[in-house]
Amino acid sequence: MIRIGVVTFPGTLDDRDALRAIRLAGAEGVALWHGDPSLHGVDAVMLPGGFSYGDYLRAGAIARFAPVMAAVIDQAKVGMPVLGVCNGFQVLTESHLLPGAMIKNNHRTFICREQQLSVENTATAWTGAFKPGERITIPLKNQDGQFVASERTLDQLEAEGRVVFRYQGWNPNGSRRDIAGVTNEAGNVVGLMPHPEHAVEKGFGPDSEAGPRTGIDGLRFFTSVIAQLTKEGALK
């Protein structure tokens, strides 16, 4: 069975939800501890949302120096799939595994909403199960979600197809070019502000056309990576 690690930093909030999502997608979730430098042989890693170290200094700025992150950075550089959600995305930008940075929402308040996204790149480790351009609904909840980068970096991301998700309908935080998520050059590291682990189970997700709280678009983030890792395993 594919094993996906979920890192808990002090102040991480969505770690248990992420482990549940991984289980529902058909993989084994492995709890990883910030102070433990070992990844315990997992096949992929997820950095879940929350307020690691209380967002002190800057969101993700302290977590980036946790012992576990050295291993995550090393493995990400040699192709291990890594997904950073919300605070996890912030940790990935602080780690320079992904470009850009997140600043406070342009309206300066925390916002929780069911957010429509378009999937712009289906070639990453975490988006293979989506159709190009597909509209999906994923809960979003953050205070510091405004994605910013230099114009040159933004142009480069666009040119290389590294914008993975874009906000649709309404840009909830003022992110540049409606960017909700990006990937690295190799496509194995993906970060986004919305929370796929909150759209994996009927009854507890966002509303969809099928009825209240029936949205499970987030599940395919995990089935995507499971399919890719399974395929790679078969090739080996």
């Binding site: 102040g11 939800d17 307020f51 209380g54 309206h107 308040t109 929370h195 507890f204 709280r213």
Partner: protein, 772 residues
């Protein structure tokens, strides 16, 4: 306080030394009582302890007599069937089946939230969450009941922004979904907002812990944040006096919260409990170390020795009195068997939590506290924590009450045609209290933990407890200051009735009650009368409905005006929080429909009841007459129909009728998912003998709107008949609103209101005031 340490020997040597008892909020006779208890004058540290622990906020000295009579006396053996821990502990605990126990409580943080709205609200959430942790439970949801002044008053945005951001900032950072609450605006809360924060926790039966200091030699360990100068005197000062400019210099000082510290404290406590390392854990609430030590010792079987020099300080200049009174947040106290101290230390270290062994449980029943090697406290802890003075305050129905009740809404001009009815509905939807509260609730995380089956704007929050079986809980909180002002007894009952109805509308069986009683000054006979009446109404309703009150909170002195007038105090606001149990959260029912062509049924019968109504407020700024009558037998029957309709999968949507009556319930049901509705009133009017206006805007209780598939109409009628609840099919649900097919809220022969127009009016109110 002087720099010199005031020891027990000093107290004996200088019996006539002048002491600042008055400045600390004590009355002359209370100070004399302390002297009699001790047989000498208190030391400065002892005076500090007694003054905070005997404050209204900590001791409930004005309400205790009535709490015991009303809630103690009216809880029957049958009501105690599911009750595992009752009133008097950090929070009550009920058995919900499957080996699961639930603990829940609401507390006020009103005065601090006016002084410093963000921190006042944030630490309100922090405090109630620590109460839940102390019981051994994992917190699973929070809720907030907010009352602000007039929406257009210049000071209101300051309070609203701070409070909403504070509730959100703290709760979001703890990873607790906010699933239920209220936001109300009324000029009576100007200068005295109400911030009531609630928390629910879940545990296995065997994990319940009570905070008792038992076992001679057991170590007393303080852990969490360090102690600083914040909130010194806060408990007694903030809770005991009004904010008068130029008044005595009892300066309120507010605590500052650190939710990150609390989050790791939660995880640390849960791990300590799981590892069996602690005998009990107590939180530090109001009155800080004074409270934690005296309550733990008073609940135990021995005494307690504490060395104040061991307290980890953020500010080394604090005096012993200040250390004892400090209300620094995110601190806890544990009782640990000596050979488990090492295991305790390892878990605390893992979570980077600081801790210090302050002392131990000792023989003799005294609470002994040393500072710099000298004894500064030697008291019987029960006299501090449990034997505060109890007052039987005089109370009297205010002179103005009769006039208020005589000023009925009958003379108010009522709309006479369809256009007038439509305008009245739009006016309520566009009013501060009838509008969408999404601007508030969208600042709260409702998804975290992945167990939220319903949240605002549904009638109740519903949380899954057991992933294997789907067993879950529902929570609804309600309270109407307007109704309670008109008739406090009925207002207390109505708070319970509405929360009960909301829990049942979501499909859950009402199980237990917590309350938060926000009233004026107990020293004013009129306000005291409101408190006694409101509490009695609340307790009577719970007794009739057969659901126990498991705990509660009383907030008094919510009064900013000249005493003795009709507008001296806030509208008396008893808030009832009702916990429900639902066998499978998959059966939970939302408050609106998401399909066209469903049949809309009105359950219950309507009377002409517009006293205290939303219509009277919005159309005429009128508050007078009597609130709607309470009929608890009908509420029970209605609840049974709604619960069974949910369980049988018949109910697509259920929404209770409350403020704004049928008209507002219909609009909210349509706005929930953007599907229209078309109803007719002729049969209803004929049955009830009322005109269309009264059918639409009366606030008669024990009514609900239910949407069912046509095929299930007979099944719903059968359920209603079986329980003796009148059920009338009044219309159908309409299309989903779109540019191609605009949906309407239509009342045949009266009006057609485009849903998009209603939505715009309903949604723009709060953003237009606060999101500029």
């Amino acid at each position: 306080m002087t720099a010199a340490i005031d020891t027990v020997s000093d107290a004996l040597a200088t019996p006539d030394a002048t002491q600042p008892w008055r400045e600390l909020g004590l009355k002359e006779d209370e100070y004399q009582l302390i002297r009699r208890i001790l047989g000498r004058r208190p030391t400065g540290a002892e005076l500090a302890m007694y003054s905070v622990m005997w404050s209204e906020h900590c001791s409930y000295k004005s309400s205790k007599k009535h709490i015991i009579e009303q809630f103690g006396g009216k809880t029957t053996e049958r009501m105690k069937q599911h009750l595992m821990v009752g009133i008097g502990e950090n929070a009550g605990v009920v058995d919900i089946g499957g080996g699961w126990a639930v603990t829940f409580k609401i507390e006020s943080h009103n005065h601090p939230s006016f002084v410093e709205p963000y921190q006042g609200a944030a630490t309100g959430v922090g405090g109630i969450v620590r109460d839940i942790i102390a019981m051994g439970a994992r917190p699973v949801a929070v809720m907030d009941q907010l009352r602000f002044g007039a929406i257009d008053h210049p000071d209101t945005p300051r309070v609203v922004h701070g409070v909403v951001a504070g509730v959100g900032g703290y709760g979001n950072c703890l990873g607790l979904p906010n699933v239920c609450g209220e936001t109300v605006f009324d000029p009576s809360y100007q200068g005295n907002p109400l911030v009531n924060a609630g928390c629910i926790g879940v545990m296995r039966h065997e994990d319940i812990h009570l905070a008792n200091a038992t076992g001679l030699g057991n170590k007393i360990i303080m852990f969490g944040a360090r102690t600083g100068g914040d909130g010194i005197g806060g408990a007694s000062v903030l809770a005991s006096v009004t904010f008068e400019e130029g008044g005595p210099s009892k300066r309120p000082s507010v605590q500052v919260g650190d939710p990150f510290q609390e989050k790791i404290l939660i995880e640390c406590c849960l791990e300590l409990f799981k590892a069996g390392v602690v005998e009990g854990i107590s939180d530090f609430g109001a009155a800080g170390l004074s409270c934690a030590t005296s309550e733990l010792a008073a609940s135990g079987d021995g005494g307690m020795y504490i060395d104040l020099d061991k307290v980890l300080l953020r500010d080394p200049t604090l005096t012993p009195e200040e250390i004892l009174m400090s209300e620094s947040q995110e601190r806890m106290m544990a009782v640990v068997v000596p050979d488990k101290v090492q295991a305790f230390a390892e878990i605390a270290d893992k979570w980077a939590i600081e801790y210090s062994v302050l002392g131990e449980v000792v023989e003799g029943g005294r609470l002994l506290i040393d500072y710099r090697g000298q004894r500064v406290v030697d008291v019987d802890p029960k006299t501090v924590a449990k034997q505060s003075p109890v007052y039987d305050r005089p109370y009297q129905r205010p002179d103005w009450q009769d006039g208020l009740q005589a000023d009925t809404p009958d003379k108010l001009e009522r709309p006479g045609d369809g256009a007038g009815l439509c305008a009245a509905l739009l006016a309520i939807l566009g009013s501060p209290n009838g509008c969408s509260k999404a601007w508030v609730t969208n600042q709260y995380d409702r998804f975290v933990q992945g167990n939220t089956a319903l949240a605002m704007p549904d009638d109740a929050g519903v949380i899954r407890v057991d992933e294997a079986t789907g067993l879950g809980i529902a929570i609804a909180t309600d309270g109407s200051g307007r109704y309670t002002k008109l008739d406090p007894y009925t207002g207390g009952q109505l708070a319970v009735a509405e929360a009960y109805r909301n829990v049942a509308a979501a499909g859950a069986t009402p199980w237990a009650v917590t309350d938060c009683l926000n009233f004026g000054s107990p020293e004013s006979p009129g306000s005291m009368w409101q408190l006694v009446q409101g509490m009695t109404g609340l307790a009577d309703a719970c007794q009739t409905l057969g659901i126990p009150v498991t705990g509660g909170n009383v907030s008094l002195y919510n009064e900013t005006g000249e005493p003795g007038h009709i507008d001296s105090a806030i509208h008396p606001t008893p808030v009832a929080g009702i916990l429900g149990v639902i066998e499978d959260v998959a059966d939970a029912v939302p408050a609106g429909w998401h399909e066209p062509g469903l049949s809309l049924f009105l359950l219950g019968r309507t009377r002409d009841e517009l006293g205290g109504s939303a219509w009277a407020d919005v159309a005429h700024h009128h508050l007078g007459g009597l609130p709607p009558a309470v009929d608890l037998a009908h509420e029970q029957a209605l609840a049974a129909v709604m619960i069974e309709a949910a369980r049988d999968g018949i109910a697509h949507a259920t929404h209770d009728l409350s403020e704004g009556g049928l008209a507002v319930a219909l609009a909210e049901g349509a706005l929930r998912f953007g599907y229209g509705a078309r109803i007719r009133l002729d049969e209803l009017c004929a049955r009830d003998g009322l005109d269309p206006f009264t059918e639409l805007f009366s606030e008669t209780q024990a009514r609900a709107l239910v949407a069912v598939a046509r095929a299930d109409e007979a099944a719903l009628r059968d359920l209603a008949t079986a329980h003796g609840v009148p059920a009338l099919r009044i219309g159908t649900t309409g299309d989903h609103d779109s540019a191609a097919h605009p949906a309407v809220i239509a009342v045949e022969d009266q009006f057609e209101l485009p849903l998009a127009q209603a939505k715009t009016v309903w949604e723009q109110v709060l953003p237009s005031h606060f999101a500029a």
